[in-house]
Amino acid sequence: MLDPIFILEAVVNGILLGGILALLALGLNLIFGVIDIVWIAYVDLVTLCMYGVYFLVSLYGWPLWLAGLAGIGIGALLGVLVHLLIITPILASPPINQLLATGGLLFFIQSAATLLWSTDHRSLRVSLPTLEVGGIFISFTRLLAFGLAILAMVALYLFLTRTYTGTAIRAVSQDREAIALMGARPQRLYLVTSAVGGAMAGVAGALLIIQYAVHPYFGGAFGPLTFMICVLGGLGNMVGAFAAAFIMAQVISVGGVLVSTEMGYVIAFVIFIVLMFVRPGGIFARRA
């Protein structure tokens, strides 16, 4: 029988994991909701940002905070590039072609990273003390990453609700045709959205590199999970994605401790499949 303290620890770790997953899901969901395209390669952009931060620190000796900020810039730039080079030409294509084109990008990023940087696992080894609260050990690094992730999400929320551009972006996701009639330019808003979504990938990359070692297939572990969270929360539904991220993180974390790591993911995916059948609009959708 497992000591309940392990389960409690798994729950705490799940919450910390949930923060990162929520950040990833919000970035992807923003793009999903506004441009209506699934970036299959979204988490691979995060991988690239992780590499960016890693090399800035280890090769050029930048301080971590500065490299992290640069990582956000790298993410925004990547978002803009992906939008201009890949998404713009296929905006009017069938959804399946859009899915496949970003699937090609996934292949490209993973293999180009292997080609350039080999399959070595690279980590920055940020060693911060471990906290002990009532017998539970919590990594301070993870706690810090969690706090910063929440901060980034609050910033995104304020951007979307308090600024003119943010309001326009929310308007596009509600009605694509009407926004053009209101005098805003959807093309420019798409570009801003891609940049913001990319910047969120940069934040996630900066927060992940201090906890995990990066390797070319890093996106493979988080990628499918991130889409599933977006879909579960409801496409374009930010609050839904946020909640779904924490639910899935709990399933994986606690399931991982109770059964095995793989089974934790299996349970999470099966829950996803079943929920897709019974609540296709996401867990928080009102049934039509």
Partner: protein, 334 residues
């Protein structure tokens, strides 16, 4: 069209004669590459049976892996000959595909959502193979334990690669025949109508669920057969090479590259991708690991943007246009 038919027949005879040609010391390798092309084209063909009707599955790795693992494990643990084992593997896979397909069509899971659900299904199967490592060998894969018997029809293991060459050729032709039969059938019109607009199709009396389930069962069954043949040929199965997202995407990519709406599209795409990766592997050796996939990825993006009908598909379209509209005149009736 007798010209095209003659050309096809000549190509077929040429392919049948390849193992008899003296190809020098590299002959084993050449056969190996062609066998892989046959088997993966067969799998691509099976995938395109669904893909061409808008049922873009990103989880065919699951069907492939189930076919491969069931065949290998039934032999390893129960000594069941692959003749029966592969048959059972196909039945299991079809049953599993129907379990997934029924709620998909019942709850109208289409487009993006269908892709994501099948993606999750593929991952579930891959993770289960890895998690049940006690008898599947986990991520290290599993070897077909034939006890070193060189050649026999009971275990379907042959020292001579040429036997599998003809098995692969036969499988590939069988896949083309199935594709052609579907293409000529009423089911094709029905499935195209469903792909366009499910509700409209249902309103004119097409049994949407029945057609979708049937085409899914057919596609999954053939994919499982492909998985069984690949596992038997390689005498080895691995969760990353025969299951999971990577494999699923590779199947999709080869078919899209060749053209998913054309008979020979999957073959052209598979032949090109395998030839490219083998060429790069020989040319660069182990110096530039990942270059083949890097080029694949770029090609896939470029193709989706500029040539969504694929290489063979685009050529076939252009030829058809030439044939149906002779120079300068009004469109002639073919």
């Amino acid at each position: 069209m007798s010209g095209a038919r003659l050309l096809g027949l000549a190509g077929l005879v040429a392919l049948a004669l390849v193992p008899l040609l003296p190809l020098g010391p590299a002959q084993e390798y050449i056969w190996h590459v062609i066998i892989q092309i046959f088997l993966w084209s067969f799998v691509g063909n099976a995938w395109s049976l669904m893909g061409r009707f808008g049922l873009v599955s990103l989880g065919h790795g699951a069907f492939l892996g189930m076919g491969a693992y069931a065949t290998v494990l039934l032999w390893n643990f129960y000594g069941m000959t692959p003749w029966a084992g592969a048959g059972l593997a196909i039945l299991i896979t079809v049953a599993f595909a129907l379990v997934v397909a029924y709620p998909c069509s019942r709850f109208q899971v289409v487009g993006h959502y269908f892709g994501l659900v099948t993606l999750a299904v593929g991952e579930v199967i891959r993770l289960l193979i890895v998690a049940e490592r006690d008898w599947t060998g986990g991520s290290l894969g599993v070897t077909l334990t034939t006890g070193g018997t060189a050649s026999d029809w009971w275990t379907l293991q042959f020292a001579d690669k040429r036997v599998f060459y003809y098995v692969g050729l036969a499988a590939w032709l069988f896949g083309l025949w199935v594709w052609w039969r579907v293409d000529r059938s009423m089911a094709r019109s029905a499935m195209e109508a469903i792909g366009e607009d499910e509700t409209a199709a249902a309103s004119v009396g097409i049994r949407v669920a029945r057609f979708k389930m049937a085409i899914t069962a057919l596609s999954a069954g053939l994919t499982a057969l492909g998985g069984a043949l690949l596992a038997l040929y390689l005498a080895y199965a691995n969760p990353d090479s025969l299951a999971g997202i990577g494999v699923s995407l590779r199947i999709v990519f080869a078919v899209v590259l060749g053209g998913m709406y054309a008979l020979l599209g999957p073959f052209v795409g598979t032949a090109l991708t395998i030839a490219l990766s083998e060429y790069l592997r020989i040319y660069f050796g182990i110096k530039l690991i990942g270059i083949a996939e890097t080029i694949y990825g770029l090609l896939l993006i470029v193709f989706i943007i500029f040539l969504p009908a694929g290489i063979y598909g685009s050529i076939a379209q252009a030829v058809r246009r030439r044939l149906t509209r002779p120079s300068g005149g009004l469109p002639a009736r073919a």
